[in-house]
Chain length 392, copies 2
Amino acid sequence: MTESFHPPRRTLMGPGPSDVNPRILEAMSRPTIGHLDPAFIGMMEEMKDLLRYAFQCDYDLAMPVSAPGSAGMETCFVNLVEPGDKVVVCQNGVFGGRMKENVERAGGTPVMVEDPWGQPVDPNKVEDALKANPDARILAFVHAETSTGAQSDARTLAEIARRHDCLTIVDTVTSLGGSELRVSEWGLDAVYSGSQKCLSCTPGLSPVTFSERALERVRNRSHKVQSWFLDLNLVLGYWGGDGKRAYHHTAPINALYGLHEALVILEEEGIENAWVRHERNHEALRAGFEAMGLSFVVPEGARLPQLNAVSIPDGVDDALVRSRLLEEYNLEIGAGLGALAGKVWRIGLMGHASNRTNVLFCLGALDAVLTDMGAPIESGVAVAAARDAYID
Amino acid sequence: MTESFHPPRRTLMGPGPSDVNPRILEAMSRPTIGHLDPAFIGMMEEMKDLLRYAFQCDYDLAMPVSAPGSAGMETCFVNLVEPGDKVVVCQNGVFGGRMKENVERAGGTPVMVEDPWGQPVDPNKVEDALKANPDARILAFVHAETSTGAQSDARTLAEIARRHDCLTIVDTVTSLGGSELRVSEWGLDAVYSGSQKCLSCTPGLSPVTFSERALERVRNRSHKVQSWFLDLNLVLGYWGGDGKRAYHHTAPINALYGLHEALVILEEEGIENAWVRHERNHEALRAGFEAMGLSFVVPEGARLPQLNAVSIPDGVDDALVRSRLLEEYNLEIGAGLGALAGKVWRIGLMGHASNRTNVLFCLGALDAVLTDMGAPIESGVAVAAARDAYID
């Protein structure tokens, strides 16, 4: 007979999921009601307003896709790309590559703009690519590249796209709620995110928002959207703004309770305060890493405060360090991904997990394990350096 | 400032979600851990075994898709249908129509076999369709049609498909855990379900299982699967059997805790006991409805015990009855869907919600509301009839 599963208690400082606020877990355990219940529909309307606040947008379409961030990405591509469409895709990490896959599977032709992993997207290259491809219809890029910790200049990239009459598809999985994102002011068109990063909710939902001109393109497609589940023309019969709620698929009720609570918490703190908090904790973590002698992958000025990728010191056994942190400290940090596998650690300071306790704990645990393993680091100074950074 | 959402307490006796066992809600509120955490991976392996038990199969591939049942349906179609493939689709309610949409959007050609809403699929028509279309590669049908409450003979249909060298895609969204389903013994190939029906879990996950020959076809496709998110060739890098766990998308951790607990509860009860329980409560509900004078849409012998569609008496205001039940009794029953909209009510007795208390409560509440509205029913006798059915 199988027994109930009781997970260990971890501190989650990887690339997500991040530690979940207990208020959210409590909200998710409230009694399930029907997906067409008037009380639930009232909650959905609040959710849309709260998502507009989180995205800083005034678009009609703001809703959570009933599946993880990868499905949010696919929602943007399958609804906007038609067979034969040319899409300029920026790649500076794992997720740009995934965008390329999405374009191809939707029958489009990707034109790649590549930057080194760890660098932000270069706007000049994008400008050149759009000049060279006047028939491109969409520019797709990652605002906050979770695989490297690099932040690209979404405002400038969107401005270039508009000049070339392209819509933008923007990955904000790791930026939403953690660093400055102003969807309407920057004129982003189709934007997706995830619940389990800086919103500190459990994984499984993908907030998306579409501008009116993006939605117009979805409504006027010549081909049916290839996915029935993700077809916004159908999904909006349930989530749309006309007050009627037609059954499309059964919404993940309790997960939505959790996301609602996460967004209420964000509103209570104030989104700009949340951005400042992420920045402050990042600065302290950075002070600790630098004191220890660990260097960042991403150049200063393009670093995401919520995702810190640092190079693994020479000769150190990556997997052993991570498993010792997990076993001895119940602390999860992230491994490198793709081209950075085995070369970096990714330390998340996301949402609820972006706090002073986690910063000092993580530095202390990493210092202890690396020192014990004889790694070439400056021992015993990281925690004090971070503490001093908070005092400054 | 938006406030936390506190749902009302309902009794859910519609077509799903059904009442969730409090043990499952408690499990979902346990601390989130990482999707590559060794403890989580151990839970995933248990989950696969538990799903094999629920499906009564010994297939390697048994896993939950990270999205609702509609995405489980799409997983089956986009992985198995290639452009140009002919698929025989049986339609006897809403969900057969959705299968047709899925075939078309995957580039296939559906050949429809239609039966009246409320009737099971006619095996003779299927035999004829397969004879007339020797190039058909797949037979798709709904085992338990949630829109009507009709159960089709999955064993016979699969046997016919095999003789014609077709794979089967089978919708068991409403049957899994509620009525007899023996995937391996019946030789079903690609089977999907939902978490929120007879497993009594929250909505948002879709258990699927694929036979080896179905998986073989997925591995040997000539075209890439059109969905990146649902491509089993990629998803199995995370859920597959080789012990390695490559990141594909972030699994919905806490929702999976809930499904694990739901399956543990099913194993504790014993699946055949669960089937008998559903049958027994259905018999009592039936006795009550018949005493009241309400008639079933589906002929005896093809009725799903977990989904009871009864005709609305002449002259009765459908929407008013349902809203009075909701407001005065906190009881949700289901409206008709598609061709049966406005003509029937759908009363679910699914999983945890299939119990004597719910049967007597639902009959009592419906009797009170209909009597108060002057509906042409036999008043005041339904509860006693159901009670007597339990005593027999």
